[in-house]
């Protein structure tokens, strides 16, 4: 640094850091830190939009714990996650492997498989609800009848298992694109020489996949799994649009429960306690994602030094 820089200028330059940070920290304090404190406080109170909050210690948590409807939503969401997470991860990897081959006209398949993940939920759910129309000329009913897979028109959302199957399939169709992009990015980092060398040693396709591809994309897969678990426990839009939680509450999810308690019945305190329950279930995956993120911070820093 040149000596001509005065002390005054130096101080101004470094104090300036706080000014750079200030606008963001203001919103950070207001909409991230304060809400976390409020979320904790609210869960110990009977709390509504108007009127004085009343301190009730653990009553919210106990009421939720003793509510069979809550456990029903926990069960629903957990089953959804258990099926949808591996399905989406494997489908995403599979599609990425297909798209990573050499072929002509790469843009169209990329648009078709990946772009839906960037579409808003309501638009695509409107279309799916229409495809799954209950009458015989509904698109799904029509073609499935024609192919002989079903005998007559089906009401897709009247039976719990069928409704869940539809929600899982639609969700996978919708969000798999993120995973595809993620894996495509990772696959393209693998040096081709590794495959060449292994092929010379007579390794088959499966061996190549297990011994070269998988180790290279392992971290990305962990990240993807964590992300999908977090997404699965946030399941709301699909249920809101397609089934409204029905039939008979069988597709109600944890966030849907939070929505109806907190915002339809305006019991904010109890809803806050529900959000802590959700947090407890998924915090492990949030931490896992954070650990991978931290790792990337460290590697970015060592690169600089």
């Amino acid at each position: 640094m040149s000596r001509s820089v005065s002390i005054f200028k130096l101080v101004r330059r470094e104090v300036g850091a706080y000014l750079f940070l200030l606008p963001h920290m203001f919103f950070f304090g207001l909409f991230v830190v304060a809400p976390l404190i409020y979320a904790l406080m609210m869960s110990f109170h009977q709390w509504r939009l108007i009127g004085e909050p009343r301190y009730i210690w653990l009553t919210n948590f106990m009421n939720v714990w003793n509510d069979s409807r809550f456990w029903n939503t926990v069960k629903n969401t957990a089953i959804f996650a258990a099926i949808s997470v591996p399905l989406t991860v494997i489908l995403g990897l599979f599609l990425a492997l297909i798209l990573n081959q050499k072929f002509y006209g790469k843009l169209w398949p990329l648009v078709a498989f990946v772009s839906p993940a960037f579409f808003g939920s309501i638009g695509i759910l409107f279309s799916w609800r229409w495809i799954l129309a209950s009458f015989p000329s509904g698109l799904a009913n029509y073609y499935l009848t024609k192919l002989g897979i079903i005998n007559s028109a089906i009401s897709w959302f009247q039976d719990p298992t069928l409704a869940w199957t539809c929600i899982i399939a639609i969700t996978a169709w919708w969000i798999v694109g993120f995973s595809v992009l993620l894996y495509l990015g990772a696959l393209q980092q693998i040096p081709p020489e590794q495959y060449e060398a292994a092929k010379l040693d007579g390794a088959g396709r499966w061996a190549l996949f297990v011994h070269i591809t998988l180790p290279w994309i392992r971290n990305v897969m962990f990240f993807d799994v964590a992300r999908h678990v977090l997404l699965a426990f946030g399941l709301f839009d699909q249920v809101y649009i397609l089934t409204g939680g029905g039939p008979a509450g069988s597709t109600r999810t944890m966030v849907y429960y939070l929505y109806s308690v907190g915002f339809e019945r305006q019991q904010l305190g109890r809803a806050a306690s529900i959000s802590w329950y959700i947090f407890m279930v998924i915090s492990l995956f949030g931490l896992m994602q954070l650990a991978l993120l931290t790792q990337s911070i460290r590697s970015a820093e060592t690169e600089v030094e």
């Binding site: 470094e14 648009v111 946030g234």
Partner: protein, 286 residues
């Protein structure tokens, strides 16, 4: 693919290309069907059997319908609300996050480490935890049913700061020191030198925040109450519900759905490279 073994490399690749192209068409059916239906009169769309892939008769009536207000809901107004909110959210978000990221990447000051790791740490909390308290805070700030309720909470997010900081670490220090000798202030350095260097990251982050705002559903559903403030997804749901059963307004509803999807499709085709970077950057080190 044993049966292809006799063919040349070129023929194999051609076959593979056609195959993938066809599967992709099948995969995209919901979007095609949305578009096709939006050009059919509703009474025909609901009644015709077999369902037709070429609208017969072809009509623009559905698109005309969503540009008029129906049942107090105007899809076209909602479209512009969404656009306005998404643009302001994106620009405001970038202008708040960029200087913060620069300070965390390049300046030395007391508390820097603490602030940075707090920013990273809060990323472990899922979004659902913030719904209830932010709803309350927005109400206390008298921002209920305003665009402020949609725009402001996002400005506190730390992921963008984190992402931009990672990029800023890559700016050579020498560049900065030279600029000081020339009497360049931190702010001028940031605006005239750092920002152009990290432009790809800004585009990536900007696109992600635009799409996040454009597609947002649950939060606007909570804080918006009057039709003149509705964003497109909320207006679509209310509009569709206004017909009683979902099939009766299927034509206009799917026209609206297509209107919500089309801009995203354009963005994806033009910028998918940036989106790809955004997704993988959030995830991994080397």
């Amino acid at each position: 693919m044993q049966f292809l073994s006799g063919k040349t490399e070129r023929q194999k690749r051609l076959f593979y290309s056609v195959f993938i192209c066809l599967v992709a068409i099948l995969w995209f059916t919901p979007i095609f069907w949305m578009l096709v239906t939006s050009f059919k009169p509703t009474n025909i769309a609901v009644a015709e059997n077999p369902p037709r892939w070429i609208p017969q008769p072809f009509t623009l009536e559905n698109f005309r319908a969503i540009f008029k207000s129906a049942g107090g809901i105007s899809i076209s107004l909602a479209f512009f609300n969404s656009l306005l909110v998404a643009i302001i959210s994106t620009l405001a978000g970038l202008s708040v996050a960029t200087p913060a990221a620069y300070a965390l990447a390049r300046m030395r000051f007391p508390g820097q480490k603490v602030i940075f790791w707090t920013y990273v740490g809060v990323l472990a909390f899922p979004g659902v935890l913030f719904l209830v308290p932010n709803y309350y805070i927005i109400n206390q700030l008298s921002l209920m049913n305003s665009f402020g309720a949609l725009i402001l909470p996002g400005l506190g997010g730390t992921f963008g700061v984190f992402l931009l900081r990672q990029y800023m670490l890559g700016i050579p220090r020498e560049l900065e020191e030279i600029s000081w000798i020339d009497g360049c202030s931190r702010l001028r350095f940031l605006v005239t030198i750092a920002v152009p260097i990290i432009r790809p990251a800004l585009i990536t982050l900007g696109l992600m925040s635009f799409l996040g705002s454009w597609n947002g559903f649950l939060w606007p559903l909570l804080v918006l109450t009057s039709a003149d403030k509705f964003t497109l997804p909320i207006a679509m749901v209310r509009f569709s519900a206004g017909w009683g059963d979902p099939y009766r307004g299927i034509g206009p509803s799917l026209a609206a759905a297509f209107l919500s999807v089309a801009p995203v499709l354009v963005i994806f085709v033009l910028f998918h490279r940036y989106l790809m970077r955004g997704i993988s950057l959030g995830s991994i080190g080397k």
